[in-house]
């Protein structure tokens, strides 16, 4: 479980202070997937930077399984909007990077082979990121996160730079793999559709400084042919209302 209590983050730029998150509290239960939705600039990335241990200067208490965040002891998978691949490493080396840092070796085992195959990148192992399409690069980033076997998976608008067809394809692929491993996941998005499709719980954030407007159970999660159903339409309307009231 992730417990966030009274999390506040300020950025200091030149003379003025920007309050990015304002006394933010939430409990995220283990093995669940939460989508966080909110307008641009409301502090979504900031929240992920705190959870991934990149940003250490914050107020309040954040714990994962009752321990303070420490990326050295916890296994945290991070997937960013621009993929975060290292351009000097080929697909194989990029996909195994998490394991290399954490376990000290980058040998493939059955599990990593299986993940690479599921993501359809097992034939691209020798390519460098610049030789891949955006969708392929994001597949590599997803592979890296899953091969790490993370305790916590953090995704910051991972599909928003992709075209609509690739995006839906990857959403489905991601969800399929996710269901097999059910790793605790915080998924940031600014798309209502994506929040509905991928989140078992949906957290709606206010415009800057980010506060929680509402936490919803998502009845649409795991429904077949979701986008053609009434539940989808109803939830979508409900979300839109909350977001626009802000």
């Amino acid at each position: 479980m992730i417990a966030i209590k009274d999390l506040s983050v300020k950025y200091r730029s030149n003379d003025n202070e920007i309050l990015a998150l304002d006394r933010f509290s939430i409990h995220i239960s283990k093995g669940d997937i939460y989508t966080f939705i909110g307008p641009s600039g409301c502090g979504k990335s900031t929240l992920l930077h705190v959870l991934s241990g990149i940003l250490k200067d914050y107020g309040g208490v954040v714990t994962i399984e009752d321990r303070e965040i420490d990326p050295r002891t916890q296994r945290i998978g991070l997937i960013l909007q621009n993929y975060g691949l290292l351009p000097w490493k080929n697909v194989y080396q990029n996909a195994m990077l998490g394991r290399k840092i954490k376990n000290g070796n980058q040998d493939t085992d059955e599990y990593s082979k299986f993940i690479l195959k599921q993501l359809g990148i097992d034939g691209l192992m020798d390519r460098y990121p610049r030789e891949l399409s955006g969708g392929q690069q994001q597949r590599v980033a997803i592979a890296r996160a899953f091969i790490l076997k993370p305790d916590l998976l953090l995704m910051d608008e991972p599909f928003s730079a992709l075209d609509a067809i690739t995006r839906e394809e990857l959403q489905e692929l991601f969800l399929n793999i996710w269901k097999q491993y059910s790793v605790t996941t915080v998924f940031i998005t600014h798309s209502i559709d994506e929040a509905l499709y991928l989140g078992r719980k949906i957290v709606v954030l206010s415009p800057s400084p980010g506060r929680i407007l509402e936490i919803l159970d998502n009845p649409c999660f795991n429904l077949d042919n979701l986008r053609f159903r009434d539940e989808y339409y109803a939830m979508s309307m409900k979300l839109r209302k909350i977001v626009s009231k802000g």
């Binding site: 930077h49 991934s52 241990g53 990149i54 420490d70 990326p71 050295r72 002891t73 916890q74 945290i76 998978g77 991070l78 960013l80 621009n82 975060g84 290292l86 351009p87 000097w88 490493k89 080929n90 990077l97 998490g98 840092i101 954490k102 460098y128 610049r130 790490l148 953090l154």
Partner: protein
């Protein structure tokens, strides 16, 4: 596919060589003085005297320039990395670098010679002085140019400083460091020539000046050609290393 030396590069080099030889031949035919011998006479002379007279000088010059570059890299790269990674280091050292960078290093030659004598030390120090500034600045800038996001995925994995260095800083800046070394090479070769004209009896600089004194223009031209060829070979060597190590670009 790693292309170590693209075909176009070789072809380009051959064409420009051919053009130089044609103009040289024309000049020799027009001037008709011993100071401008024909290229063929010089090439034949090179074949005749290389093993007996030139080889040893090439080895000395090559040794000096390689040593100089190695020292400059060993000092310059870590310094540049520190300046690129730690903002405070940069704030303290950058003004120093910028202040000394534009000083024509050849102007320091008398000072270096007074302090370190006429021997090997001065020659090495001059080469290091020429090459090191470009290496410091380019390795610093290469580190600075790495986007924050590149570090983020590694930090979220809890990578240590050494891991960040190995996985990001080194590979990200290697190419720039090699490029700047290659660019500094031209100046390094000319300053090498200059420093070899005194205090030594070995080195291409010595050989060329000595041939000139002896009014042996064929030997002198042979020396000039071998020196240029030497520079070209080091240039190509760095190019090949760059292509091998940075094939991801």
């Amino acid at each position: 596919m790693i292309k170590v030396l693209p075909k176009e590069k070789w072809q380009g080099a051959l064409y420009s060589l051919a053009i130089v030889i044609v103009f040289w031949q024309l000049a020799a035919m027009i001037v008709k003085l011993p100071i401008v011998p024909s290229p063929w006479a010089v090439f034949i002379n090179i074949i005749a005297i290389f093993a007996s007279k030139i080889q040893i000088h090439v080895l000395y010059s090559l040794g000096r320039i390689m040593e100089g570059i190695a020292i400059a890299i060993l000092i310059g790269v870590p310094l540049g990395f520190l300046m690129g990674y730690f903002y405070r280091m940069d704030r303290i050292l950058s003004p120093l670098v910028y202040f000394t960078y534009p000083v024509p290093k050849i102007a320091l030659l008398p000072v270096v010679m007074l302090l370190f004598g006429l021997g090997e030390a001065s020659k090495l120090i001059m080469i290091v002085l020429i090459v090191i500034f470009q290496i410091i600045i380019s390795s610093r800038d290469a580190v600075k140019a790495i986007p924050d996001e590149t570090f983020r995925s590694l930090k979220s994995l809890g990578a240590s400083k050494i891991q960040i260095f190995n996985e990001i800083i080194l590979p990200a800046s290697l190419g720039e460091v090699l490029t700047s070394t290659r660019l500094a090479l031209g100046t390094a070769v000319s300053i090498l020539f200059f420093t070899e004209t005194f205090g030594t009896e070995y080195g291409m600089g010595y050989f060329i000046m000595d041939s000139w004194m002896r009014v042996n223009y064929l030997d002198m031209y042979a020396g000039i050609i071998i020196l240029s060829l030497m520079g070209f070979c080091i240039f190509m060597l760095i190019d090949i290393i760059e292509n091998l190590l940075c094939s991801w670009r």
